[in-house]
Amino acid sequence: MAPPPETTAVVFDAALPWQRARAVALRPEPFGALVYSFATRKLSFLKSKQLVTVVQTLADHPSATAAIEASGVPETQRAAYVKALADLARSHMIEERTSVPPTTRELAAGPCAEAGNP
């Protein structure tokens, strides 16, 4: 099925460093989390707490693979987590990190709900 016009084709490479996209807010829920992009108005539902941890810690690791491993995902499930991250990349919920892990995030005018940050 062809991707809708607003998403440019994103090839997900788990060996690269990733981070939650800047226009995205994440809210933990009992079942996992809800993730909302102010840019695309898309809402994603993360179905496992472990996946939530992976997404929240992406920026702290040199690769997505490392983040998955560090979250304690069993080897048999790692492919499913890579696929989940690929889905999130395709919908622009996560983006490639092109520099060292940022200490302050560059936001468009006005603050963004960065839930989960202290």
Binding site: M1, P3, P4, T7, Y36, R41, K42, L43, S44, F45, L46, K47, S48, L51, A80, Y81, K83, A84, D87, L88, R90, S91
Partner: protein, 39 residues
């Protein structure tokens, strides 16, 4: 509001977006416009 239990009826899936929904998927996508009850 009546609360009698109902027999399990197959509920409509959220329609497919970029990808067909896969049972094992850890991510489900919905549009924020897809919730009834807001202006």
């Amino acid at each position: 509001m009546p609360e009698t239990p109902q027999t399990e009826a197959p509920v409509l899936e959220a329609p497919a977006v970029e990808e067909p929904l896969v049972e094992e998927s850890l991510v489900e996508e919905v549009s924020i416009d897809g919730m009834c009850g807001v202006y």
